[in-house]
């Protein structure tokens, strides 16, 4: 029956299959589907089992002539898996994969600068992701910058031999880059990123994570810094929509601190373990970026004025966001190393409530916010857009707070981790009143499996706390991207 459909209509159906296993099954149904599916397949993810690699690449490219996205990931590779993709393998790929636009190389320990110089052969290349390529250096990246004329997205993750940033200056001059992610590259410092210069003008997404913990005895020796002269910092970033900064120590007037006052179009902001950011920076940012839709802050205590040791941002930040960002939908506030007595969190519950009452919040995550209790839950019950709520180690919340939450008009997804003040009764209140799509509980001491079973369309329950452990790892070692790309 369906065999009578013309190829174009079968293609429309196949395009709606996203799981590779479904595509594989479909391609074995008949020779005709095998051929159509082969023409349509635009992405493959390859790894350790690929042997011998050059033969396999040739065969794949003839089976899938329209491949545009290719990923090689050798995470967990051992010598007995056989030879990895090397420069020769890239040469073969360049001779047979003519539509390639996105290339990801992860844990490829044999690719070096002469491999990178081959990338200029891919005329349509727009996006490159290099994750843990131990041999590549700045020279290789310069050949990429010069050779790949259409490059608009570059991810550099754990590439520890990359030091000087001539390549970045080159990319800045061509102004083609729209996405730049530099993550845990040992020898790239925040001051180096300024050398993108005019290239900032077109950038839409920028992420920088510095390796290791922020340096408490930070030495602000920006080589281009001249006191009271910000000539190095006169770039524009008016199109930047998505900004993530992780583990930086900032000082006013130098380094990437200036981004906070320059951005005007931000929609998504993530600041994680940044020292040196003050309320006035955030007030300026909120004032300039009225389109802000998502904010994520991970705050640690630091020495503030008057020798106070607490998280630096206060309710002034929350008030500015509440007043100036009417589209703010997604909020995550996380605190690391704070205790109810000392060191304190700079925000108060009243400040949080103001934010909840002012912005159309759809998604809220609170981690270890020890300022938040049942009073805050009462405010949440009136947040008419709130669909997803995640509470992690908020021990002050009791069943009374859950009773408030049960009245929340839009709540669909609820996650509770390490919330020991809540019992089965509290969870029961919410699931009886709200038809939840998903309910996740991890290690809430007084919540039993029986209370969550069948309570939502999708339920997860564990006595362990795997998500929390991952988060702590992320705070301590910053390995988010490795997980993300693996």
């Amino acid at each position: 029956m369906m065999d009578d459909l013309p190829d174009a209509l079968l293609s429309e159906i196949i395009k709606r299959l996203t799981r590779t296993s479904d595509l594989n099954s479909l391609s074995l149904v008949s020779k005709r589907l095998y051929n159509i599916e082969g023409e349509l397949r635009d992405a493959v993810h390859l790894g350790c089992d690929l042997f011998p690699v050059t033969l396999a690449v040739t065969s794949l490219c003839s089976r899938f002539p329209n491949l545009s996205k290719v990923e090689f990931n050798y995470s967990g590779w051992k010598p007995e898996h056989g030879i990895q993709l090397d420069n020769q393998g890239l040469r073969v790929l360049s001779s047979c994969c003519h539509s390639l636009s996105d290339l990801t190389l992860s844990f490829c320990s044999f690719i070096d600068d002469s491999g990178l110089s081959l990338l200029a052969c891919f005329k349509k290349l727009m996006s490159l992701r290099f994750n843990t390529l131990p041999k590549i250096t700045s020279c290789g990246l310069l050949s990429v910058a010069v050779g790949c004329k259409s490059l608009s997205s570059l991810y550099l993750i754990h590439c520890n031999k990359v030091s000087n940033v001539e390549w970045l200056e080159y990319l800045g001059r061509t102004r083609s880059l729209e996405e730049l992610v530099v993550f845990n590259c040992e020898r790239i410092r925040q001051f180096d990123l300024q050398r993108l210069g005019a290239g900032w003008t077109k950038l839409r997404k920028f992420e920088l994570q510095i390796r290791g913990l922020p340096d408490i005895l930070f030495d602000p020796d920006d080589p281009s810094y001249v006191s009271h002269n910000q000539y190095r910092y006169d770039f524009c970033c008016e199109t930047l929509k998505d900004l993530t900064l992780v583990r930086l120590t900032t000082v006013p007037e130098i380094g990437l601190h200036c981004l906070l006052s320059k951005c005007v179009a931000l929609e998504k902001l993530c600041l994680s373990c940044i020292t040196g950011i003050k309320d006035n920076d955030m007030v300026t940012l909120a004032h300039n970026c009225s389109n802000l839709r998502s904010i994520s802050l991970l705050l640690r205590p630091e020495y503030c004025e008057g020798y106070a040791y607490r998280t630096a941002l206060t309710d002034d930040t929350l008030k500015a966001l509440a007043l100036r960002c009417p589209m703010l939908q997604s909020v995550e506030l996380a605190f690391f190393g704070c205790l109810p007595e000392w060191p304190e969190i700079g925000f108060t519950q009243d400040g949080l409530i103001t934010l909840i009452q002012s912005c159309p919040i759809h998604e809220l995550v609170l981690r270890r916010a020890n300022i938040f209790d049942d009073e805050g839950m009462k405010a949440l019950s009136c947040a008419q857009f709130l669909e997803s709520l995640k509470l992690v180690q908020i021990i002050a919340i009791t069943n009374a707070g859950m009773r408030h939450l049960a009245c929340s008009p839009s709540l669909m997804n609820l996650t509770l981790e390490l919330c020991d003040g809540i019992t089965d009764d509290g969870v029961g209140e919410v699931v009886r009143r709200r038809k939840l799509d998903s309910l996740t509980t991890e290690k809430c001491a007084k919540v039993s499996q029986g209370a969550v079973n069948g309570a939502a369309k999708s339920v997860q329950y564990t006595d362990d706390c795997p998500s929390f452990k991952r988060w702590v790892d992320c705070c301590l070692y910053g390995n988010k991207y490795c997980d993300h790309l693996a």
Partner: protein
């Protein structure tokens, strides 16, 4: 006097058009609903289909056309609003419920609908039926897909060729 329906609908009554199926059944339907079809829209904008003329659709039989029009009538108001912007969550949920029910049909009907949606270029319906077939494929083995969708078994030679490829390069499919 001139037929009132030849106006552009601002005199109260909505403008109606007549569609004629391959087996010569006539369907009278609001122009707004029929215009979900890109193919019909041009004819209708030219003033066709009104009065006694009717637009012949030689590729669509009456059973299929009545099903297609059921879809168009339900979706016409939302399409007139330019889709989602001011639709409420309730409206959207109702359309979604309708769509799910709508494609819960015999496979031969589904096949005719795919062809009709294609011939008439009704975008929403095209993606609805394609998604339905895709859902019927998800999670099934090659043999189950053949049975479900009525594909003939491959010849032994074809089977051998496909198997050889999967065996040799199965990893590429992770």
């Amino acid at each position: 006097m001139a037929a009132p329906e030849s106006g552009d609908g601002n005199n109260g009554a909505a403008r109606m058009v007549t569609l004629i199926s391959s087996d010569n059944t006539r369907f009278e339907v609001e122009a707004a609903a029929a215009s979900l079809s890109q193919t019909l829209q041009l004819t209708i904008l030219d003033g066709g289909g009104g009065g006694g003329d009717g637009i012949p659709l030689p590729n669509v039989d009456s059973a299929t056309l009545s099903k297609v029009l059921e879809y168009c009538i339900k979706h016409a108001p939302a399409a007139a609003n330019g889709g989602a912007p001011n639709a409420t969550a309730v409206d959207r949920a109702e359309l979604e419920r309708f769509d799910n029910e709508f494609v819960n049909i015999d496979q031969s009907v589904l096949y005719s609908l795919i062809m009709a949606a294609h011939n008439l270029e009704i975008e929403g319906l095209q993606s609805l039926v394609a998604k339905k077939v895709a859902d019927m494929i998800k999670g099934k083995s090659p043999m189950e897909i053949r049975r479900t969708l009525g594909f003939p078994d491959p010849t032994p030679e074809e089977q051998a060729e496909m198997n050889a490829h999967m065996l040799e390069y199965g990893w590429a499919y992770e």
